[in-house]
């Protein structure tokens, strides 16, 4: 196995996930929040692929990771369109200004 086991990959995934969550929570720029979402999805993907390699569950993990990649691309497109609309209406992209969006 070359010495690198499942646990090391899981730790990398956990660090990526925590970075993404902190990025989502603390950034005030909407694009920064989107980057946090990408980090979280990549942490989940590392876990999927590591379990697909180190457990006898076959290629299910890689299939799920591919779905995650495609859905992340779709999510980025829609969220970016929403951010552009928000910028057109407010001439800023600060998410703290979004509190007037409530129904």
């Amino acid at each position: 196995m070359g010495g690198v086991g499942l646990e090391a990959y899981l730790i990398v995934g956990a660090i990526l996930f925590v970075c993404g969550v902190v990025c989502m929570a603390t950034k005030r720029n909407a694009i920064g929040v989107l980057m946090g979402v990408e980090l979280v999805l990549n942490g989940a993907n590392i876990n999927f692929v590591a379990f697909s390699r180190f457990t006898p569950l076959g290629l299910d993990g890689q299939s799920f990771a591919l779905f995650v990649v495609v859905l992340a691309a779709a999510e980025a497109a829609v969220a970016l369109a929403i951010a552009l609309n928000f910028y057109n209406n407010h001439t800023t992209i600060d998410v703290d200004r979004g509190n007037e969006l409530h129904g």
Binding site: M1, C19, M35, L59, V70, A73, A76
Partner: protein
């Protein structure tokens, strides 16, 4: 040995760039660090013998999604909005909560014994990594003894398929899985047990979803003419 070295290099690159994404306040630099982090993640995928997924990660994420984000940064950049500061108190609280969450996750990851995972999962197959280490052991030992221990043709086909996965050629199996066939699961299965499920329906759903999302994004982000109340008659 070289695999271990590469893993550490790319793991440190991934985590360091992710921390840099959080710590940087400039959005363009955040995008750069995000590219570094996602590229290293794709290298980790290659190290995990997921060749198609690594290539897809490079093409779609680094080549597509991040470029889309950079376009978003450029379209919304107007002086002050490139650097919207997080206040130091918020950053402090965020770092504290993040460290707590990280410690919880690391505690739960390290408290599980992953080594005897094979014995606890209810499948007959071996994991690719275990097959790999077995082959290394058998090539070190007597090759003839290893050859005689092969049970039957199904087992042999399974081993051949696993060897192909092992060599990093997962494209054909992933494609068959998306068409609803699972040769990696079904070759070793006894008669009358049924076939395992593929991913044909999720694949179709995600295709339609992607189409709808792209149409919706184009509709949402279309250029609107600003209608000024007095000047609209002149246009």
């Amino acid at each position: 040995m070289i695999e271990q070295l590469l893993f550490w290099v790319f793991a440190i690159l991934t985590c360091g760039a992710a921390v840099a994404v959080v710590a940087t306040q400039n959005v363009v630099r955040m995008a750069f660090w995000l590219i570094v982090s996602l590229g290293s993640v794709s290298a980790l995928f290659f190290l995990l013998h997921a060749d198609f997924l690594g290539a897809a990660q490079l093409l779609i994420y680094v080549g597509g999604t991040v470029v889309l984000l950079v376009f978003g940064v450029m379209l919304t950049a107007s002086g002050s909005s490139v650097r919207i500061k997080t206040s130091p108190a918020e950053a402090f609280v965020g770092a504290g909560v993040g460290l707590l969450l990280l410690s919880v996750l690391l505690f739960s990851v390290t408290s599980v014994e992953w080594d005897d995972l094979e014995s606890r999962l209810p499948t007959r197959n071996l994991s690719p990594a275990a097959i790999d280490s077995q082959r290394e052991a058998s090539s070190d030992a007597d090759v003839a003894a290893a050859g005689s221990s092969v049970a039957g043709p199904a087992r042999e086909a399974q081993a051949a398929l696993a060897a192909r996965t092992q060599a990093g050629r997962t494209v054909r199996q992933l494609g068959l899985g998306f068409l609803g066939l699972r040769p990696d699961q079904d070759l070793n299965r006894p008669e009358g047990e049924g076939l395992s499920s593929g991913y044909l329906l999720p694949f179709e759903i995600v295709s339609i979803h992607l189409l709808v999302v792209l149409v919706g994004a184009a509709y949402l982000a279309r250029a609107k003419r600003r209608v000024v109340a007095g000047a609209s008659a002149d246009l």
